[in-house]
Assembly symmetry: C2
Homo-oligomer: 184 residues x 2
DNA sequence: TAGAGTAGAGAACCGTGGTTCTCCCCGTCA
DNA sequence: TGACGGGGAGAACCACGGTTCTCTACTCTA
């Protein structure tokens, strides 16, 4: 039986995402992706021009999913002020997942940011879109626009700190700080 | 003329630090370090057991210097509350340096955090000591202890955002947020 | 059923990089 | 002055990983 193109592509992206998130880009070989995905090297190179394009595709798909998950969680909250705090509740849940290893984009930037323009564009695009999401919710709450970048810094700080030390603690700290900024 | 051990070690660390900060660990070869430092491979391997130990030594020395520079800047400010804000002024100066490429420890963590215990220990140690520095200044200002981790998140968020997008803007945002937290 | 084309397994190719080794120079000291 | 030993230049060694190629099997179709 022959795997349809879309399914082979999905399997390849699944495997690559899992491995790269766990170990970093350069620690994952195309052969590792082949082994985990069951998609042959030949097909991998038919689906993606090379490893860099695979990494790019992984980041792009993850961006859509990540922001969708966040948005689903946040917009389930009715109160517009509470939504802003719910961002940090969602971060806390994420940080507590057993295979959490920090923010994939921050990690990839640390590894490749200065050497791969394509990956750098993915990272900047993701962070910009996340900032826009936040800014939208700040506007919905009729809060001053300058609040959004401040909440963004708290979220980014929480992601990086949780990545390095582990655990949801930084999300709780960030939530407290965000509440303080909201209560002024 | 024969280079004394300490000077050879310094030159090797200087070169390795510069290259690794600019390009990331895996993009720098021992031969690049040899070329820039003028220290032969033989001597590099006499000074350090291997590349990982060199990276470790680079991070350790940079930790001392980085926190010293920060402390010098901050403690020059008389007012204890202003000191807390001065942290972000210093970050702004750092971010504006032409070769700024984000926080070296965050970057290295993204690249090696999950694969090198020695490097991970350096990263955690640095971040812990930075947090302790901040906590000390918060205590000096007779501010509640829970303020320190919140300022830490702002600082980390600023470092990561400035690394990705460039420029001192995130430090200014973080300073405003910190001032808001202080004015409650 | 025969032929064609596609896909997989796995070897092969090629560059790179960490680490070690060889060869030679030069300063030192008996 | 001659043996010695540290140090440098650069080759060599070895493993790894991205990419391509070969060979074979299988499926689909005429």
């Amino acid at each position: 039986m022959v795997l349809p193109v879309n399914e082979a592509r999905d399997r390849a992206l699944d495997a690559a995402e899992q491995l790269i998130y766990a170990r970093g880009v350069h620690a994952v070989g195309m052969d590792d992706v082949r082994e985990l995905s069951g998609v042959s090297l030949k097909r991998l190179y038919a689906l993606f021009p090379g490893k860099e394009a695979l990494v790019e595709a992984v980041l792009e798909r993850r961006d859509g999913r990540w922001r969708q998950r966040l948005a689903d969680f946040v917009t389930r909250v009715g109160d517009r002020d509470e939504r802003l705090l719910a961002v940090f509740d969602w971060l806390a849940e994420w940080f507590a997942e057993p295979d959490f290893r920090g923010c994939a984009w921050i990690n990839v930037f640390g590894e490749l940011g200065s050497t791969s323009p394509a990956v750098l564009a993915q990272v900047r695009g993701h962070k910009r879109r996340f900032a826009e999401q936040l800014a939208g919710w700040v506007a919905d709450a009729h809060r001053p626009a300058e609040l959004a970048p401040q909440l963004l810094l708290l979220a980014e700080g929480a992601m990086v700190t949780a990545g390095i030390h582990g655990g949801p603690g930084p999300a709780h700290e960030a939530r407290r700080a965000a509440a303080a900024l909201l209560s002024r």
